[in-house]
């Protein structure tokens, strides 16, 4: 596969889609550079598949524009966009062999036979399916079918490859393998890949930039590291593994760059943490990863809770506990704890994120 795709950027300008009175997608604005791997991340119904289908042309947009350099493409028919798309259920043509599935796009373009054979061979090699080329899709395993779907999409040398939860039908081991494959294929192609997923691990490990969507709107755009360490919104934090949410009242605000130091009362306990955005006082919500919340000694500050469940996950124990105010807390512990035991839980101030408002 050569990286002879000549374009510099893909721009989404306030792209929107409504279904009747429902806003499935609102004001999606994004500037994507050639070579970038973008993940659209969000729970089901957040608008990520709608966004993908709008870019592909399978769904008409109701507002906004999409530009490939300075060519407006959202007004083009699906057939004329020339993007490669990998579907969640693969959508392989069941009556065609692997070879003719992969060559389909080239045949539709009227590519000459010798050239077609050469490019199909190249695509088959890219996904390592040389020995399966003459089989029908029904004779292949799920992982092999997925490879055919990818090969079929990239055989036409598309500037843009769209992937709609391509790994969700595979088992855990195969998912990990295919992740690496997809990343490698993306780098070989040199175009843009837009990848829809609801799995934050997939998004974190694959993408150059992640777009977190919720209720049809962008919550945050950033590198995986940005999102993991500095989630801009409590929803994003929850998606990034901050399972613990505590409602409290702001006590004091400091000013240590780049984050704001703050402290807040949670019931009887004063916790120190950091805030990414200015806090105006009043109610705040703290977000803490289970990994960072650990038992502390009886003399240091911490939230009193009663252990409800605990399990060994190799190396450490993970458990859940109930605080006096009734909040469920997920924590990590180096030692086994008994069910019903009292613990005092706290985290490093840098690992407690404060967000404005009482949270949901």
């Amino acid at each position: 596969m050569g990286s002879h795709i000549a374009f510099q950027s893909l721009r989404l300008e306030k792209v929107g889609r409504t279904f009747g009175a429902m806003n499935a997608l609102q004001d999606l604005t994004l500037d994507i550079k050639r070579g970038e791997f973008i993940a659209l991340l969000g729970p089901s119904g957040c608008g990520k598949s709608t966004a993908l289908n709008c870019i592909a042309g399978l769904l008409a947009t109701t507002s906004g524009a999409i530009w490939l350099d300075n060519v407006r493409i959202d007004t083009l028919a699906v057939e004329d966009r020339g993007f490669g798309m990998v579907f969640q259920n693969y959508a392989l043509f069941p009556h065609m062999t692997v070879r003719s599935n992969i060559g389909f796009g080239l045949r539709m373009r009227g590519v000459a036979k010798a050239e077609l054979e050469r490019r199909v061979d190249a695509a088959i090699r890219t996904v390592r399916l040389e020995s399966q080329a003459h089989k029908l899709p029904g004779q292949l395993s799920g992982g092999q079918q997925q490879r055919v779907a990818i090969a079929r999409a990239i055989a036409i040398d598309p500037p843009l490859v769209l992937m709609d939860e391509p790994l969700s039908n595979l088992d855990a081991k195969l998912r990990l393998e295919m992740r690496q494959e997809i990343r490698r294929i993306h780098q070989d192609l040199g175009g843009v890949t837009i990848y829809v997923t609801h799995d934050q691990d997939e998004a974190l490990s694959l993408a150059d930039r992640i777009v977190v969507l919720r209720d049809g709107m962008i919550r945050q755009v950033g590198t995986p590291e940005d999102l993991y360490l500095r989630p801009a919104h409590i929803d994003v934090a929850e998606f990034m593994g901050f399972r613990n949410r505590l409602s409290g009242v702001l006590e004091g605000v400091g000013t240590v760059a780049p984050m704001t130091r703050a402290s807040a009362m949670f019931g009887e306990t004063l916790l120190e943490g950091v805030a990414l955005h200015a806090l105006s006082g009043g109610s705040v919500t703290a977000a803490i990863r289970p990994d960072d919340l650990t038992p502390v000694s009886a003399t240091s500050p911490g939230i009193e809770a009663v252990v409800e469940a605990i399990e060994y996950r190799g190396r450490d124990f993970f458990g859940s506990a109930r605080s006096a105010s009734g909040a469920e807390l997920f924590f990590r512990s180096g030692a086994a704890l008994d069910r019903g035991a009292s613990v005092r839980l706290n985290a490093d101030p840098g690992k407690i994120l404060f967000y404005e408002g009482a949270g949901a």
């Binding site: 259920n89 959508a91 009556h95 079929r152």
Partner: protein, 294 residues
């Protein structure tokens, strides 16, 4: 050792258990209503009045008035079935994407409930010399009642077979069309296939086996045409179909033996066409029409 396994277990291993008994009423019904009459007719057809074994068959194939009914019937049934199929495919494609699919399907299927005689009565009025259709045509200057004849000839039977046969063909076609995963069409479109190319390269190959079965069932229905051939056709000549020949032999000449032979020939012709069409299915892909395993 073999004898120690109870009979019940040995039978169950061969698929015979208590549930098998539930098939008995259906088997009895089949024997009484189909197998016995069919065998009776078959035997009867070899016992003609002149006593020779193949007498009836010899008589049928030497009398043009009789053997030509095979072609007369085929000339009606094959074009009607092809037309219904060709018309049903695009309608099914359109209906599949509609919001009021059930309402439209109901309207399209309604003629099935009317029965051939009622349709024939309606057509005699509507398409008759004084009917609205002909009168409208002549008002528009497109012909006169004397120049256009749509009943009591080939076209009368043809139209009635289309009207009564279409709903059946359409329903079957719709179920086959709906069985094709929409994602396949989307995938083909993203790969650059326009509507016509998607139809010829994706839909038609996947539909072909289903269309073959639809053709067979529709054809068998059309080939056994009787009431409309009498009511709307010219039963003495152009629409003297094979069932009319059998009817005349049985109830006008009281030659049940010849009538049975004609019925057997009718069945054989249908069988030849059906087997031929079904065998052609092996030329096509016949697996599930979905984009992936389960």
């Amino acid at each position: 050792m073999e004898a120690t396994i109870p009979l019940r277990v040995r039978l169950a291993a061969r698929g015979l258990d208590g549930v098998t008994l539930l098939a008995i009423p259906a088997v009895l019904l089949l024997v009484a209503l189909f197998l016995y009459p069919f065998s009776y007719g078959l035997v009867l057809s070899f016992r003609p009045k002149d006593g020779s074994f193949f007498g009836n068959y010899g008589h049928f194939f030497s009398d043009p008035f009789l053997y030509k009914t095979i072609w007369t019937t085929l000339a009606l049934a094959v074009p009607v079935t092809v037309l219904n199929l060709v018309a049903a495919v695009p309608v099914a494609f359109r209906v599949r994407r509609m919001r009021y699919q059930r309402l439209i399907t109901t309207i399209l299927v309604l003629p099935i409930t009317l029965g051939t005689v009622l349709v024939a009565e309606g057509m005699l009025n509507y398409f008759g010399p004084q009917g609205w259709f002909i009168r409208t045509l002549s008002l528009m200057g497109l012909g006169s009642p004397s120049s256009i004849k749509l009943v009591h000839n080939y076209w009368g039977v043809f139209l009635s077979l289309v009207i009564t046969g279409f709903p059946f063909t359409f329903l079957l076609t719709l179920s086959y069309v709906s069985g094709i995963d929409v994602a396949l069409e989307n995938a083909a479109a993203t790969l650059g296939a326009r509507a016509a190319a998607r139809f010829w390269t994706i839909f038609l190959p996947l539909l072909a086996p289903g269309l073959a079965i639809t053709f067979c069932l529709s054809f068998v229905q059309a080939y056994s045409v009787f009431p409309s051939a009498v009511l709307l056709g010219a039963p003495a000549g152009p629409t003297r179909v094979i069932s009319i020949a059998a009817y005349e032999a049985a109830f006008e000449q009281y030659d049940y033996s010849l009538a049975s032979a004609i019925a057997m020939i009718m069945g054989a012709v249908q069988l030849v066409v059906v087997v031929g069409v079904l065998m052609s299915r092996s030329l096509f892909y016949r697996g599930p029409a979905a984009g992936a395993k389960g």
